[in-house]
């Protein structure tokens, strides 16, 4: 399928982005990696009048450590994320997630900012943001707004981003002492969206279990986290029935997903014990 006609412009600066978003409102779409957007254009699920290409904005690139955080520019492509030494050292969960994201050709183009802004509930990186206690750094004409990942994902493909804002970076706290993480998922074929996936982070007394593919948003399982943090796997697995309310679909009924979530939690437990 071919997209409906649209105009195309390359953003020259963030101010240029804000100007064009002001002028075109809902009719403008930001083009980052385009690996979801262009597919939806092709299927004419989306028919914007303007595609605003932000790939030339140097201020959205780069990965660096600033005081106590790892700051990842929104335009960082998945392949770059997976190969970056700072990411491997300070946020190994992200490096572990990258090979699970679609396929090599997609990873060469797709961006972390795009993935988080799109907020696909079955995608890896939004769940990683939850597990890692990331801060989503958004910018609009009024300046910067910093949003905790826990407050960012509002509903199916719905985020806390406001009209006229874009994600400029993701900030991840440097790991605390004794912190470990794991990402595991079950998919029918390599590179498919996960049927159920788990991004898990633990440190003494704390567990953050962020699930993907089990609801309308990436989501945490607070009851299971409490039990998991105390090393009680069985109680954590039992608690998932209260924490999660997964949908049924072609893959199977809700009970099937819940069962797979328990299985993944067991595997994560074994992995995180070391």
């Amino acid at each position: 399928m071919k997209p409906a006609p649209f105009a195309y412009a390359r953003a020259k600066s963030l101010d240029d982005v804000f100007d064009k978003l002001d002028a075109h409102g809902d009719q403008a779409r930001l083009l980052a990696g385009g690996q979801s957007l262009i597919a939806t254009l092709n299927l004419r699920l989306s028919t914007p009048s303007l595609l605003l290409d932000i790939n030339g904005l140097a201020e959205l690139r780069g990965i660096k450590v600033e005081s106590n955080t790892l700051r990842i520019g929104a335009l960082t492509r998945h392949a770059e994320l997976g190969a970056d030494p700072l990411v491997a050292r300070h946020a190994p969960l992200l490096a572990e997630a990258v090979p699970h994201i679609a396929h090599a050709a997609i990873r060469n183009r797709g961006t972390i900012g795009g993935s988080v802004a799109f907020a696909d509930p079955a995608a890896e990186l939004p769940a990683c943001m939850l597990a890692l206690e990331a801060t989503i750094v958004a910018q609009g004409r009024g300046g910067e707004r910093r949003i905790a990942a826990d407050d960012f994902f509002k509903g199916l493909y719905e985020t806390d981003l406001r009209d006229g804002e874009l994600i400029v970076a993701l900030e991840i706290p440097l790991p605390a002492a004794g912190q470990r993480s794991a990402l595991i998922e079950l998919a029918r074929r390599h590179g498919d969206y996960a049927i159920v996936g788990l991004a898990a982070l633990v440190r003494p007394g704390v567990a953050r279990l962020a699930w993907f593919g089990v609801g309308g948003t990436p989501l945490r399982s607070l009851l299971a986290e409490a039990a998991f943090a105390h090393g009680d796997l069985a109680a954590a697995q039992d608690a998932l029935a209260q924490d999660l309310d997964p949908p049924g679909d072609l893959h199977g009924p809700p009970q099937f997903r819940l069962h797979l979530a328990r299985v993944l939690l067991g595997r994560a437990f074994a992995k995180l014990k070391g």
Binding site: M1, K2, P3, A4, P5, F6, A7, Y8, L31, G34, Q35, I38, A39, L41, N42, L43, L51, D53, N55, A79, P99, A102, H103, A104, A105, I106, N108, R109, R189, H190, G191
Partner: protein, 159 residues
């Protein structure tokens, strides 16, 4: 044509200037404007991998990138890769192993296999399967393709 945009792209080593409609996919620009029909357009929403090409040396989906985005870039299609001999060992192994039947997926499959072998010169069968997981083949059942990639890797290691 809505707000056509002038682009300058290097395609298989040759500089090309063109005026394109923003909605034109890179794969359609290559196939229909430049008549480089070796790389195929299949599903047109990023699933089948038939349109895999190289942009600035990296494999991309030609249906998930617009021609306007390739302005200033260097693009290699299956024609360019064939002419340079970069994938000759893979092509020979595909023939020897019967790794194609209808051949629709083959140009994309070769690009994916070449990208895999750059990162993993001695891949396991499992790694080959992962490497081609984004490329659909409806004829072979994949076994012969995996055989061919493994064979080509061995040939290439011998240099």
């Amino acid at each position: 044509m809505q707000h056509a945009i002038d682009i300058s792209v290097t395609v298989n080593g040759e500089r090309v200037q063109a005026r394109v409609e923003p909605r034109t996919h890179l794969i359609d620009f290559l196939r229909e404007t430049l008549d480089l029909t070796g790389s195929h357009a299949g599903c047109e929403h990023g699933v089948c991998g038939a349109c895999s090409i190289l942009v600035d040396g990296q494999m991309v989906r030609g249906c998930l990138m617009l021609a306007v985005q390739a302005d200033g870039a260097s693009v290699q299609t299956i024609e360019g890769l064939t002419e340079s001999g970069a994938i000759a060992a893979l092509q020979e192994a595909f023939v020897a192993r019967n790794a194609l039947q209808c051949g629709f997926c083959t140009p994309g499959m070769l690009v994916a296999a070449a990208e895999l072998l750059r990162a993993h010169p001695a891949p396991t069968r499992e790694q080959v399967r992962e490497g081609i997981s984004g490329n659909y083949c409806r004829c072979t059942g994949y076994h012969a393709i995996v055989d061919a990639v493994i064979d080509a890797a061995a040939t290439m290691r011998k240099g």
